[in-house]
Amino acid sequence: MEYKAPVEAYSGVVREVTIGKGKKSLKIGGENILPLHFFDQGSNPNPAKFALEVLDMKPEDWPEHAVEPLRDVISNSVSWAKKCQDFAVDAVSLFLVSTDPAVKNAPADKAAALAKEVAEAINVPLIIYGSGDEKKDVEVLSKVAEVCDGMNLLIGPVLKENYEAVGKAILDHGHTAIAQSPLDINLLKELNVKLSKFFPSDRIVIDPLSSALGYGMEYSFSLVERVKQIGVITKDSMTMMPIIANLGGECWKTKQAKENKKQGLLWEGMTALSLLLAGANIIVLRHPETLKLIKETIEAR
């Protein structure tokens, strides 16, 4: 029996989604191969991208070794976002945690003004994550969309509970949506189907929820792997969107990441690399050193 290299080719193509405007724009997705399968037939025009977290308030529960590289900017979101650029990020992800009714219940106006200020201060596209409170996010994310009109931010989480209102605001003001569902492929598809009724599919990015290593990472890993394969191999239109893995916060809230710097970097790094190998197109990290480690590991020749 002769050996013939088992090269594969697939018919599905992940939609190419652009976030940001003009010089600040970034393309994600667009591939018709599985992650890093440069040896199969097809290509990935936009290899995985990386963003760093910025919070809208000074974090209280970060360990010293996570604060350390950002110490001089950590109380000011705008300076913090600018500093992220020193770490060669493809995008910045601003988390509006202070708007959470259980945190500070900060008003939508204030959050939206900050989002705009950050977006204008940086030279890369901005991702906005609301607090995840489905009711408050309607107010907050709609306001962000309106105030940042036309900037094409990547805004989420758009949830099953609030997709109509939040989706409409994102659409009306020219942004891109993060459709988030809790670790389940059927819920994920259902949300995309509902959203796609009035929202263009090539402006949706899937967030299937990323769990940290040791805290359910295997679920996220297999889910992302399946979503990618169902899109690329079986050409299911409702999974052929790029995937965002927002994992920095999940990893750094673990006891293991807080306990020791090296352990923390590996906790975040292994989670990120796993989800990248599974099929994530853009990855949100917390620690700048993790970003450097992952990039160098992938780019090693």
Binding site: E8, P182, L183, D184, L213, Y215, K255, G269, M270, L277
Partner: protein, 456 residues
């Protein structure tokens, strides 16, 4: 690519229904053979030739290989799927620590100590690295053999012996052959001379090729010589090449049924990355991408734990979510005025909630409802954490007899079940919506517990 029963039946005698195999017809026997429910030796009428052919056809597509002996034996291979969501991965990779004979005495001692002592309890299992790789780098054969002897005498672990010098390799093998070590590397240059020596005292063999294509004639040659416990190193130099090579080998074995590549693989992050953290990251990628033995130059408790958790995660059977038993659990020493929380029975949910409660130092009851091992929100979406079913569980789990108050804390993410749950509990309990995330428990629970104390 398993063989079909209809193919097997053509090779069976099939003349009369002798039923000597215990099945009514050859066809029934063939179907059983194909599904693994019977063995070839049950048919007494097969020629040796046909028997051998059948055994070969029915062998698992990736050969099972055992390195080490006794309870420290590491079994690799025998995998059935490319992606874990297709079924499950079976034999988790051996994690090996490299000791060079150039390491000084203290370093060698330290590494031997490390492999024994670095063990981590993790959700009911004990995680540890499980192999030592001994590397001939000094040029002094006696030094290498002394290292092998030392490791053989002072541990019970399986070994990977690494030596370009064949004399040293086989001399080392002779010291520890009963430990079933993996001999590495056998290459196209040394294979012909090596075969008789391998056969003299048979143990598993690690093949190294400059490419996948280069490995194929080597595995065929060894198989013909009766040496079948093999492990493959396609010589990948970086992460991208590793993904390509591992993918091709796995696909060839499982999708093409290509026997010459139907063996587990061995990977050497220790020779691929210069930086310690990057080495661990490359190693973690090899866990995702099917390597069966992964060798590291060094690690400590902080770099080994994440790697071992990664291995555990990827090799967990996705068909059975890790779940804990449905009942109420006590954290600390709760009394009749302690808070009562309810959550789902996914092991990780329980683990997060109980450790968050424990950290507050507030004694409490955690009622864990069977939701088929799903997290709270997913369970709710799947109808396994509805107000009605949680209510029924609270009634029958006996928590009512443990506390005097009637206040039940539910996870904030399922706030919407509050009304239905209160109805299901005949309005005898007040349902309190707790924090959305376990991280919120620290801020929430102590104040709530104080209120409860005030009531009693």
């Amino acid at each position: 690519m398993p063989i079909a029963g209809s193919e097997i039946v053509k090779m069976l005698p099939g003349k009369k229904p002798c039923k000597d195999c215990g099945f009514p017809t050859c066809f029934a026997f063939a179907m059983k053979l194909a599904s693994g429910g019977a063995t070839v030796d049950k048919c007494p009428y097969l020629s040796e030739e046909v028997k051998a052919k059948l055994l070969d056809l029915l062998a698992p597509p990736i050969k099972l290989v055992t390195i080490g002996s006794g309870e420290n034996a590491v079994k690799i291979g025998n995998e059935e799927v490319i992606y874990r969501h297709e079924k499950t991965f079976v034999h988790s990779p051996g994690i090996a620590l490299l000791i060079s004979d150039k390491d000084d005495k203290a370093k060698i001692e330290e590494k031997i100590k490390k492999i024994k002592e670095l063990q981590f309890p993790w959700v009911g299992v004990n995680l540890k690295a499980n192999l030592l790789a001994l590397y001939f780098a000094s040029g002094d054969k006696n030094k290498f053999l002394a290292l092998v002897k030392k490791v053989y005498d002072s541990t019970d672990l399986g070994m990977v012996l690494i030596s370009e010098d064949m004399d040293a390799l086989f001399a080392a093998r002779d010291i520890c052959a009963d430990r079933h070590p993996l001999l590495y590397p056998i290459t196209k240059e040394n294979i012909d001379k090596a075969i008789p020596k391998i056969k003299a005292n048979l143990t598993p063999v690690g093949l190294r090729g400059g490419s996948i294509e280069e490995l194929i004639p080597l595995t065929s040659k060894l198989k013909d010589a009766g040496i079948e416990e093999l492990s493959l190193d396609p010589g990948s130099k970086n992460l991208l090449e590793a993904i390509r090579d591992q993918t091709f080998i796995r696909r060839a074995a499982l999708k093409q049924g290509f026997r010459p590549l139907g063996y587990p693989t061995v990977a050497f992050p220790c020779f691929m990355a210069k930086d310690g953290l990057k080495e661990m990251l490359v190693g973690s990628a090899f866990i995702n991408k099917w390597a069966s033995i992964i060798v590291f130059s060094d690690f400590d408790q902080y770099s080994l734990l994440p790697l071992l958790v990664q291995r555990l995660n990827i090799y967990t059977d996705p068909r059975f979510p890790m779940a804990v038993e449905q009942k109420y659990y006590e954290v600390g020493e709760p009394d009749e005025s302690s808070p009562v929380l309810v959550t789902s029975n996914w092991a990780l949910t329980y683990f997060l909630v109980s450790s968050a409660v424990e950290a507050t130092k507030v004694p409490a009851y955690i009622c864990v409802k069977d939701a088929e091992g799903l997290g709270v929100l997913t369970a709710w979406a799947a109808g396994k954490f509805s107000g009605d079913s949680v209510g029924a569980f609270i009634k029958k789990c006996g928590i009512g007899g443990k506390v005097k108050h009637r206040k039940l804390i539910i996870p904030g993410k399922v706030a919407r079940i509050k009304g239905e749950l209160e109805d299901a509990l005949n309005l005898e309990w007040e349902v309190i919506v707790g924090p959305r995330e376990t991280t919120g428990i620290a801020a929430f629970l102590p104040g709530f517990a104080k209120q409860l104390k005030g009531l009693s």
